[in-house]
């Protein structure tokens, strides 16, 4: 027995706007019989680009039906632009919350809405478009979708991602890839959150530039490498080329090129100069 809110049970027992609109202005369908839930959303718009009528059909569990019903109530009367601002979290909040394992039902609602708007605007199929790299083959979830639910809902674990978009919920082979997406999003968030340093506005002398590079290596890069018992030495600066060498555990590490681009070059570009190229001197 799920811990569904009264609102969820109300929308499940008395779903609003169930049915079909013949020749609807916008139609979007997501999910499939194979996935275990599916939602078809249909709407008409008036001359002011407002959603004047909306209907849905859902195959799925109580929370899938409730999420669909809630979505229709939320968007009727909104302009297309306003409706597109509805997030999966808004749908869940409207229902007083959903169990973690059921958050994907709210995501399905948001996806169906986007698909229907796509159909309305382009006249082409609004069924879920699998653009990009598929990460979870069991449920057909792309890297972009995983990245989006991770970012929008501030997800931290693979389990969270599974709850929100099902990815990783069947065979589980893609769990490492999902973790990769989470790591990337979290890293970006951290960079965005870190205080902005003023990049030197005026052209630096070569000495100023070398000093700033050394300072950045000292304060920004060495602490990161030290966590893996690694180190770094500055060998040379030639124009926009920075030559370094890794020491400790980083030297000979088979993923050092990731550290090179993801940490060393990224930090130096951020704090010193955007066109810097970092190369490693092999001993």
């Amino acid at each position: 027995m799920w811990d569904y809110t009264e609102q969820v049970m109300d929308h499940f027992r008395n779903p609003r706007n169930v049915g079909k609109i013949e020749d609807a202005d916008g139609v979007g369908q997501v999910g499939s019989l194979a996935c275990g839930d599916a939602l078809k959303l249909m709407f008409n718009v008036d001359e002011d680009d407002r959603i004047s009528e909306v209907k849905f059909q859902t195959f799925g569990c109580a929370s899938a039906i409730a999420s669909s019903s809630a979505l229709t109530e939320m968007i009727v009367g909104l302009t297309i632009e306003e409706a597109l601002k509805v997030t999966n979290k808004d749908i869940a909040d409207y229902l007083g919350g959903l169990p973690d394992e059921k958050m994907h039902c709210s995501v399905m609602g948001r996806e169906a809405l986007e698909a229907a708007v796509y159909n309305y605007r382009t006249g082409t199929s609004g069924d879920k478009i699998l653009a990009g790299t598929i990460i979870c083959h069991c449920f057909g979830v792309t890297e972009e979708e995983i990245e989006r639910v991770t970012r929008e809902n501030n997800l931290k674990t693979v389990e969270d991602v599974t709850h929100f978009c099902k990815a990783g919920g069947a065979c589980g082979i893609c769990k490492d890839d999902i973790q990769g997406v989470i790591d990337r999003v979290m890293a970006e968030v951290k960079v965005e959150e870190s205080p902005e340093y003023e990049k030197p506005a005026k052209k630096m002398t070569i000495v100023e530039k070398i000093r700033l590079i050394e300072k950045t290596i000292d304060e920004e890069i060495r602490p990161i490498l030290a966590k893996d018992n690694g180190g770094i030495d500055l060998i040379d600066v030639d124009g926009n080329k920075v030559v370094i060498s890794f020491t400790g555990m980083c030297s000979g590490c088979n993923v050092a090129h990731f550290t090179m681009e993801g940490v060393v070059q990224a930090k130096l570009r951020k704090f010193v100069q955007e066109d810097l190229v970092v190369v490693e001197e092999k001993k």
Binding site: P15, G36, K40, F59, C61
Partner: protein
């Protein structure tokens, strides 16, 4: 609202007779049966009596019964105990539709001890692939664990034939008989299993008590290592009230087997026929000629199990589903998948499991309400035009 209970393969009502015999062991006879003093020691004879009652249900010797805390513990103790007693120099053979108490454990042991594990497939009706089983059995000494009856579909594996083959091959035979015990006759004198697991709460005893049958001479390491209880086979002070309750439940079960075979089976058949006749696009999962008398597993095409269950629940009807949404696992049950049930039907599978407490009125209540539920959900489904 009246409770129309059709989920007896999940858990069953505690029989009033069982509760009654248990109560004095909370209030009056709460001593430790291992004690020397009369106050504790007098309890021992009730434990002995219960052991005899359990043994009698499966035609075993009382010394071959070990009390445990549940079916899962019995399965763990049997399989792990047999594998460890063989110093892990065995193959593991099980099926892909076992209860997770067996399947997860076998996968764990296989990974941990580097033991070869074969999960034998089933066909579309849930029947075991015996050819594949024979091939695996021929590969060398094995601990075999196959269920007597499947919890989701009720389908029997041919345990008589399988146990004979396993003994012929000189291997160890365990059967998870949790769903079979109390519903059909099980006789360990006739069927040469070495180990067998049973659970109290599936046969009208409370949760928290189970038993394991260990044939005399079977080499078995203990799972719970501790005191000398259960002849060193299971440490831990005896759970006397529950043991007494399980004994009574087994006595009642033995007396009720005929009722299961005739009356309960007829109710199940009426329920199944009634639903199939009144709801279009419904199919029965599992071999209808080879299953428990109390179980039916019906798929309602194009609709989803959890929605059906909540609708039933609103009418006081308790059943269960193999749909993905009911478990939170996102996948339909491994049993339904192993049988290759198509997606159109898999998500809408509902299991009704009856017991001696069901009556004709319960069945008619379901039959009367099912069509409206199915129709309402299908009207909502994008897959039905």
């Amino acid at each position: 609202m009246k409770n129309y209970y059709f989920d007896n393969n999940a858990t069953s009502a505690v029989a009033p007779e069982v509760t009654e015999v248990m109560l004095p062991f909370f209030t009056k006879y709460w001593g430790n049966p291992s004690s020397i003093h009369e106050f504790g020691g007098q309890v021992g004879k009730y434990v002995r009596n219960a052991r005899a009652q359990v043994a009698d249900l499966i035609n075993a010797d009382p010394s071959e019964i070990v009390f445990t805390s549940c079916g899962t513990e019995s399965d763990n103790a049997a399989i792990r105990g047999a594998v460890e007693a063989a110093n892990c120099n065995v193959n593991l053979i099980t099926s892909c539709v076992e209860h997770l108490a067996v399947l997860s454990l076998c996968r764990y042991l296989s990974a941990k001890e580097k033991i070869s594990l074969a999960e034998i497939a089933v066909d579309g009706k849930g029947n075991l692939n015996l050819d594949e089983f024979k091939r695996e059995l021929a590969k060398g000494p094995a601990v075999v664990s196959l269920m007597w009856a499947n919890n989701e579909t009720g389908v029997f594996f041919p345990i008589q034939k399988i146990a004979e083959m396993v003994k012929e091959a000189g291997s160890i035979m365990h059967t998870d008989a949790v769903q079979a015990i109390g519903k059909i006759e099980v006789d360990v004198q006739k069927t040469p299993v070495d180990l067998l697991a049973l659970s109290g709460h599936k046969l009208h005893a409370p949760k928290g008590i189970g038993a394991m049958y260990v044939r005399k001479g079977t080499k078995l390491n203990s799972l719970l290592i501790g005191g000398h209880q259960e002849k060193n086979r299971r440490g831990g002070t005896e759970n006397v009230p529950y043991i007494v309750g399980l004994g009574k439940a087994c006595e009642l079960a033995k007396a009720g087997i005929e009722d299961e075979r005739t009356r309960v089976a007829a109710l199940r058949d009426r329920l199944e026929a009634g639903i199939l006749a009144s709801c279009p696009d419904t199919t029965v999962n599992g071999d209808v000629n080879n299953r428990l008398p109390n179980t039916t597993n019906i798929s309602f095409k194009y609709i989803e199990g959890e929605s059906i269950l909540y609708n039933l629940s609103d009418l006081g009807i308790a059943a269960s589903s193999g749909s993905a949404c009911t478990s939170g696992s996102l996948e339909t049950s491994h049993v339904i998948r192993a049988m290759g049930i198509p997606f159109t039907s898999a998500h809408g599978s509902i299991r009704f499991s009856l017991s001696r407490y069901n009556e004709s009125e319960d069945v008619e209540h379901v039959i009367a309400n099912m069509p409206a539920i199915v129709e309402r959900l299908r009207e909502m489904s994008p897959f039905v035009d």
